[in-house]
């Protein structure tokens, strides 16, 4: 069984009987002591014989989960996220154990997770790309999310826009999306903007963002986002689709390499999804690459797509990464 740091804190406050047991080796105990929790130390093969509930604690909560399952231990709990998550909870009163599987990653950690939770992200367009982008960013811990789209859900959207269901047809996309996203993370602060980005509202809508996601379906809006991001000096994570293919790039980092440098001049009309056609999985793949690159950008994880254009072909699964 699993117990989160917050649940364990409730046990302490309500005087539940339990024994917390640190099963880590001496070196890990020395490097990262458990803060603010009475506990004993024991080897995993020599756990205390007690009628009290046991809470086993390791560094990340992975080893203890394995021990409980393998030995079929009853009345024994694994502390989700381990000492890392407990200490972060103890220090900040924020339970980050939910993200324990990603905070294990050296490049993320508790510090990175805190950074994600304090970041402000704007997604423009809640269609094929916007849905997977929003879903992945909310579930990975982005709390401040603004979603912008002036369209209502149509029946033909459902095959590639999984935040919406049959009953949402006719509703504004941002409202339907907010309901689904809020169910994934009740503490997220989702600002649903039910009109399109334009020259008049653009600066105001994007001004406080750390990163802007371009999930639009037309080049004129893309160019406007590019212009606004340049003016506000905000990075833009670009994504676009064509049949079985997609493009992703991180543009306008430190004022360099924007969409207008990628495709300068006037661009003649290009087919969009309703004209060229699209399989529902493609926006899922490309949108998730955008979300991945957003997290890498926010946490300064390298290599990434800053100043590079990724071309992905879902038919042959070939990619090209072009330096801008």
């Amino acid at each position: 069984m699993i117990i989160t740091p917050k649940e364990l804190q409730n046990w302490i406050e309500n005087n539940h009987y339990f024994k917390a047991v640190d099963i880590r080796g001496e070196e890990q105990r020395y490097d990262l002591p458990i803060m603010g929790l009475d506990h004993m130390i024991a080897h995993e093969n020599n756990l205390p014989n007690t009628s009290d509930k046991l809470v086993l604690i390791c560094q990340f909560g992975i080893v203890t989960e394995g021990i409980i399952i393998e030995n079929d231990l009853k009345e024994t709990f694994s502390l989700l996220g381990g000492v890392e998550a407990w200490n972060a909870f103890h220090a900040q009163q924020k339970d980050m154990s939910r993200w324990s599987r990603q905070t294990i990653l050296r490049e993320v950690g508790i510090e990175g997770q805190t950074k994600l939770m304090n970041s402000k992200v704007v997604i423009i367009g809640m269609g094929g790309l916007g849905c997977p982008v929003a879903q992945s960013l909310i579930t990975c811990g982005i709390k401040n999310l603004k979603i912008i789209d002036g369209d209502a859900v149509e029946l033909s959207n459902l095959h590639r826009q999984p935040l919406y269901g049959f009953d949402d047809v006719g509703r504004m996309k941002v409202h339907a999306a907010k309901d689904t996203l809020q169910a994934l993370s009740d503490s997220a602060l989702i600002d649903a903007v039910q009109f399109n980005l334009d020259e008049n509202n653009g600066l105001r809508l994007l001004a406080d963002a750390n990163v802007v996601l371009d999930a639009t379906d037309n080049i004129s809006t893309r160019k406007l986002i590019d212009k606004l991001c340049k003016r506000l000096n905000i990075p833009m994570v670009y994504g676009a689709l064509y049949r079985y293919e997609g493009q992703v790039a991180i543009l306008n980092v430190n004022g360099k390499g924007g969409y207008s440098e990628l495709f300068p001049g006037k661009i003649p009309s290009v087919d969009n999804c309703s004209e060229a056609g699209i399989l529902g999985m493609l926006p899922g793949i490309i949108g998730n690459i955008q979300a991945l690159e957003t997290v890498k950008l926010l946490l300064d994880i390298k290599p990434n797509l800053i100043g590079k254009l990724l071309l992905y072909d879902g038919m042959s699964h070939t990619t090209q990464t072009i330096k801008l």
């Binding site: 367009g125 269609g127 094929g128 790309l129 916007g130 371009d214 999930a215 639009t216 379906d217 037309n218 080049i219 893309r222 994504g239 676009a240 689709l241 064509y242 049949r243 293919e245 997609g246 493009q247 990628l262 495709f263 001049g265 661009i267 003649p268 290009v270 087919d271 969009n272 999804c273 060229a276 699209i278 926006p283 254009l309 071309l311 072909d313 042959s316 070939t318 090209q320 990464t321 072009i322 330096k323 801008l324």
Partner: protein, 81 residues
């Protein structure tokens, strides 16, 4: 003569009906000349399509000479989302 590999994406792929093509070209052929050759090969299917040129995974802004073994991608803008 030089051999140039063209990797095809999006409209270029559908116009030429292939993922990849090898071209045998005169020595000294430039990127702009190569783009024209590709457009001619497609008939009129790339007419009006904006293309950016990358040689060996790097954008080239100006006309540049191609060399034997170079890999070229002609990149069109796409807009679906």
């Amino acid at each position: 003569m030089i051999k140039i590999k063209l990797k095809c994406f999006s409209q270029v792929k559908y116009a030429l009906e292939t993922d990849e093509l090898i071209f045998e070209l005169e020595d000294g052929t430039t990127s702009y000349e190569f783009e024209k050759i590709v457009r001619q090969r497609s008939g009129d299917k790339l007419e009006g399509v904006t293309l950016r040129i990358a040689v060996n995974q790097e954008y080239v802004k100006d006309d540049t000479e191609l060399y034997d073994g170079d890999e070229v991608v002609l990149i069109p803008p796409v807009q679906g989302g």
